[in-house]
């Protein structure tokens, strides 16, 4: 059963990544200016070289052939060369991925710590004023654009990971608060409280099993939000990660780089979501 679920997720990931790649390849192919090559304007090139450049472009005219060749090259580890940075895309990704992974990882930890601390305290205290305060705090952060939070983090010398944490936390808090409030209002948990069970025992024995699988799904989604948040944070804080690379590629219309980044980001978010789903399935299986 679990094996089938993992296989189904694996197939869905491969299909979505391939479809995503095709979509981004289509965008690259249809983008204005695809047919022209700046290199052809070089006065040092003779007519034969210009003709060869045009010929190379013509070979990429068919979208499916263009995509197939890209996939073939990617299978051999060749992700192409960045137009704007003049370096192999694989080298750029290898250099920048560790920083983004660290930022996103720490940012997620911080956001979950903040969100769960606030959501749990609100669920435990059940004081409407405190609930309103935590909702107002998270609501305020929700109303500030991610890029502004990144700019403010530069002004206040706050680490980039904390900026990502502050961008992600209100989204996580909103779901966590609702899930915990719903779990704490269940009859068996109210009974447990009435019988005088300690809050920690209620939390780990009764609330987590109820809200856990759904919180795991939120965890999967929060990875996608954190990856998105890494773009403005890295771009505006001057951190040389994959997010900054995506921003630079967008500004320079470096489409080969963007295609690869699209596939990478799709893969990461799908793996996170599927991972959360499979773990949730395992947990539910244990409960049953």
């Amino acid at each position: 059963m679990l094996g089938r679920k993992i296989a189904r997720h694996g197939l869905a990931i491969v299909a979505t990544v391939l479809l995503g790649g095709l979509l981004s390849a289509a965008l690259v192919r249809l983008a204005p200016g695809f047919d022209s090559d700046e290199a052809a304007l070089d006065p040092h090139l003779n007519s034969a070289s210009v003709l060869a450049l045009r010929q190379a472009r013509l070979e990429q005219h068919n979208l499916f052939r263009f995509y197939f060749h890209s996939l073939q090259r990617a299978a051999h580890g060749d992700l192409g060369t960045s137009i704007s940075l003049g370096q192999p895309v694989s080298v750029l990704l290898r250099e920048r991925a560790p920083l983004t992974l660290r930022l996103v990882g720490v940012g997620l930890l911080l956001s979950w710590a903040m969100a769960m601390a606030m959501a749990l305290s609100a669920a435990w205290l059940r004081v409407s004023a405190y609930d309103a305060l935590t909702t107002a705090i998270s609501g305020t952060f929700l109303c500030i654009p991610a890029a502004v939070l990144a700019l403010l983090s530069v002004l206040w010398n706050v680490p980039g990971a904390l900026a990502i944490g502050l961008i992600v936390f209100p989204r996580v808090y909103r779901y966590a608060r609702n899930l915990l409030a719903k779990a704490y209002s269940l009859p068996h948990i109210i009974t447990a409280r009435a019988k005088g069970l300690s809050e920690l025992r209620i939390l780990f024995w009764h609330v987590v099993p109820v809200a856990g699988p759904q919180l795991l799904a939120v965890a999967g989604v929060s990875v996608s939000i954190a990856v998105g948040a890494a773009i403005p944070v890295e771009a505006l804080c001057g951190l040389a990660g994959v997010g900054q690379l995506a921003w630079q590629a967008a500004l320079a219309r470096d489409l080969p780089l963007l295609t690869n980044l699209t596939i990478l980001v799709t893969l990461v978010t799908l793996l996170a979501n599927s991972g959360a789903d499979v773990i949730g399935h395992i947990l539910r299986g244990h409960e049953a």
Binding site: L23, L30, P32, C143, I144, A146, L152, I225, L236
Partner: protein
């Protein structure tokens, strides 16, 4: 809560009215340059000072608010219509159409929103006229922002398809398109309204993010995104506090939308 909602509605109404009256309230056009007073502090002539090339910041805030507040709902309308068309029909028709539509939806949803926006924006020409950049930015938001709404509408339409009154109407001989138009679509209205209202603040924030990253509305056209880009040059928060006015305005407006939205959530529920 009702009081807060009334206040939020009043704030939104006030901001929209003031921005619509920008032609009369602003001391000059958004592109007019006062070269002799570049980067000036607030004064009687320039209530919020001037930017680095001498344009009146108050005028730019008014015109920028108008652009953001008029076009975000337009983009939200477009995305809601697309969601109704794709999600509503997918849920109603079911089968292969629903699977295809949801696969495309999943594909879009698997990409972080901001990443998707900058990727698509990068594919389009960046050196376009300011007016075209405004249209491109908000059209893009409208054309890409329908996916999560489509998912909600698909599940709502699926439950409606199997509802007793729809089965009865079908048994009475009502055709597919007519059935969808007369019985299914009106029942999707509360969800559509909620999705429309949810999309507006989301699009306002997205435009602001794109503007700050230099991928939004092009100069000299102002928008909240391009106005917030000025914060990049600040050295400290207390240095020129008047530069935070667009941010405060944006937070107030988005908060007001969220408060109004809480009512829409109740309606949708």
């Amino acid at each position: 809560m009702k009081l807060w909602r009334t206040v939020a509605c009043a704030v939104l109404l006030l901001v929209v009215s003031v921005s619509l009256a920008a032609n009369w309230l602003a001391p000059a056009g958004y592109a007019r340059q006062y070269r002799e007073a570049a980067d000036a502090a607030p004064s009687r002539q320039h209530w919020l000072g001037t930017d680095e090339i001498g344009r009146d910041r108050f005028a730019r805030v008014l015109y920028g608010t108008r652009i953001s507040l008029l076009l975000a709902p337009a983009a939200a309308l477009l995305s809601t219509l697309m969601a109704a068309l794709v999600g509503g029909l997918a849920g109603y028709l079911g089968g292969a159409w629903a699977r295809c539509a949801m696969a495309v939806t999943d594909l879009f949803l698997s990409l972080p929103w901001l990443f998707l926006l900058i990727t698509v924006r990068a594919v389009m020409p960046l050196n376009v006229s300011p007016m075209v950049s405004v249209l491109v930015t908000f059209l893009m938001l409208g054309l890409l922002g329908w996916t999560s709404a489509a998912r909600v509408l698909c599940s709502t339409a699926t439950s409606l398809r199997d509802a007793d009154f729809v089965r009865q109407a079908r048994a009475s001989g009502l055709s597919g398109a007519r059935l969808f138009w007369i019985h299914v679509l009106p029942n999707l209205k509360p969800v559509l309204y909620a999705q429309f209202w949810i999309s507006i603040p989301a699009f306002i924030l997205s435009e602001a993010n794109l503007g700050i990253l230099g991928l939004g509305v092009a100069e000299p056209m102002p928008s909240w995104g391009s106005l917030l880009k000025e914060l990049e040059g600040l050295v400290s928060v207390g240095e020129e506090p008047w530069k935070f006015v667009p941010l405060i305005l944006l937070v107030v407006v988005v908060t007001s939308f969220q408060l109004v939205l809480s009512r829409q959530d109740e309606v949708a529920a």
